[in-house]
Structures are given as C-alpha cells and as structure tokens.
Symmetry: C2
Amino acid sequence: MTGRAWQKGSAELLILSLLEHEPRHGYDLSKLIEARSGGVLRFHVASLYPLLYRLERRRWIGGRWVEKAGQRRRRYYRLTADGRRVLETKRRDWRTFAQAIGGIVGVEYA
Amino acid sequence: MTGRAWQKGSAELLILSLLEHEPRHGYDLSKLIEARSGGVLRFHVASLYPLLYRLERRRWIGGRWVEKAGQRRRRYYRLTADGRRVLETKRRDWRTFAQAIGGIVGVEYA
DNA sequence: GCTTATATATGGCATCGCCATATATGGGGA
DNA sequence: TCCCCATATATGGCGATGCCATATATAAGC
C-alpha cells in the first residue's frame, strides 16, 4: 500500500497520456497502466470508471460505445482538443513537481 | 491549484526528509518547503500540524516543547530510529513511483 | 496603535482512490 | 457439462489527506 497515496492526482495524467495517440476503452487502460509500469502502478476499476466519466464531463475526452458480435460492449475514449492542451500542461506541471520533490528529499531519477 | 492533488501522500516524505539532519519546528518546516522548492511546493499549516501529530503518534518523529524568553513556544521534532527506516523506504518508493509515471507519460527529469 | 511575521491549533469540507458487489459474455479445462 | 477465469462496465459507501476559515498569542517595525 506504500505508494498508493501518491497516485491521487496522477491518474488523470496517466489516462490522458495513454489516450494521446489512439482511442482506448476503460478496461484496456487499466491493464495498460499495470503492464507498462511493470506492476508498480495499478488502478482499480472502481477508481477508473468514475474518473473517465469525470474527464468526459470536463470535455477532456470523448467516449463512444462500440458493439461487436460475440463481445461485451466497450466504450472507447479519445482525447479532445481541450484534453490535449490539458495534457501538455499537466505533463509540465508533473515534471516541475517531481523535480521539486526530488530536490528536497534528495532523490535523483537517473 | 494545478499540482495540489499530487501533494497528497508526498507530505510525509517531505517532512521526514527535512528532519533527517536536524530537529525543526512546524512553522520552520512549512517555510522550508516553500523556499527550497522555489514556491512550487507549499503546505498550509492546517495540513501541517495534524500531519506532525500523526507522525508523532506513529513514533516516526518525536517532539518536545522549547520555551525561550521573548518568543512564542515552539515544538521541535526529530526523527526517531523508526522514522529513519521509514524515510529510506519512502525515498525508494517515491523514486520507483516517479520513474513509473515518467515512463508512461513520457517525462524525463533530466 | 496598527500591521506583519512568527507559531500553534482545530472544526468542517472536498477530493479521490479503494473495497465490495453487481451485471453480462466468451473461452478453456476437468 | 460445468465451473472458473478473463473480459468489460457500473456504483454505493468508506477512509485518507489536504484545504479553508478561524482562533489564540507574542515580538518587531513603522
């Protein structure tokens, strides 16, 4: 549970980043985060879906249902123009934040 | 408000780090965080004092009152042996976490 | 005398991630 | 055949943690 509290706030940045180049659905995002972080990051679906609704309500992402035979329906999300701008800002902010923390606690990321 | 949400969870690491080499009192810690981060990080005292009580309750830090003439009383905190171990763990965890985030969102800290 | 900086304290609130649980479908193995 | 697992989305309630507002108290500076 150690680092779980840090995830607060980073979730939005993660989701926006993963949607940058292609639309994805919720379950896929959840699996991607876990896989790409080598298991370090893990988002429970109970956090993920409400987060996606929130981002959609803010118009940072847009979702649409895709139904295929022999498959549960999926909702695919894509970045909006607003979302793209927010992503850039959040990336910069994250970098600034991480460097500030690193500077004080004496951690280098190299 | 941009990065404020990220602070959740990093507060403990910051405090423990700042107490690593010398005892400090609450107000001092609050000012130090702001100064050393160039204003990027800022902890309101309303968050800070309850946090200090929590850390003391967990025996990660120990506080003692210091009264001097012509000065409001101050409570100085120092790291305990437990606190020192926790600090090491949290530092490692933070590094792992920041690298995982950086890897997914495409941010380098160099 | 008034404001500002120093210094600690606390009640109530908002945000956000988690647990538990629910629904629904397809595939693989015993 | 039957059950479990992976896939896929949904939601009520809870806990942790930081913030706002406010309070108290003292010394320094104008």
